[in-house]
Amino acid sequence: MQIRVQQAPFDFGDECNRFAANRDDTGAVVTFCGIVRAPEHGVLHRMEIEHYPGMTERALAKIAQTATTRWGLQDCLVIHRYGPLAPGERIMMVATASCHRSDAFAAADFLMDYLKSRAPFWKKETTDEGDGWVAAKDADEAALQRW
């Protein structure tokens, strides 16, 4: 299990390859990559991600540990960036490894839902219409009820 919270970019493909390497007894690897995309309105110039150093790592480790236990994962990885990001940049990724695809999928989906609403990150968007903190969506909170 690996948790990395960093300002620096990461190489999604390299991380995928490293994660999937040397896994003779893993049948399934699922990965997710989140990308900075255009907002509902306006043109995005920049995104800034604030986080809570210390708590962020704790919260992510707890979520990853829960997923690992619940789905019997062989491994999982979470990388999340903070600081300024441009449109198209990769914000974060998760990866899960399991014998069976259903466990790898469910665990990655779970990690994303919890990470989205339970890890202390906040996004601020700068668009041609001004600055604003991204509001949490009811749908994201509701998604947690699935688990």
Partner: protein, 83 residues
């Protein structure tokens, strides 16, 4: 007791600083919020809609009625938007 109080995102912006040391006898998070709101308008404004505020005590998410006995760090922030 002395508490480190942290603010993030728009709570930080409204209050005007990211952290401060608060000397308080507040027994719960709620009581601490009441004390902070009484200080100045900017605090009162920041905490005016508690549905939009989340709290962590010693880096664990918790409720407003969480006791502060033994706590060292309290953080206030809006609902999280990671991922």
């Amino acid at each position: 007791m002395k508490l480190e109080v942290l603010y993030f995102a728009w709570l930080r912006e409204r209050i005007g600083h990211p952290r401060e040391t608060v000397d308080t006898q507040a027994e719960t998070v709620s009581a601490l919020i009441t004390e902070l709101r009484a200080r100045e308008d900017r605090y009162d404004l920041a905490f005016s809609d508690l549905d939009a505020v989340r709290v962590a005590v010693d880096q664990d998410l918790c409720d407003f009625d969480t006791p502060l006995a033994g706590a060292r760090e309290v953080a206030f922030f809006p609902p999280m938007t990671g991922g």
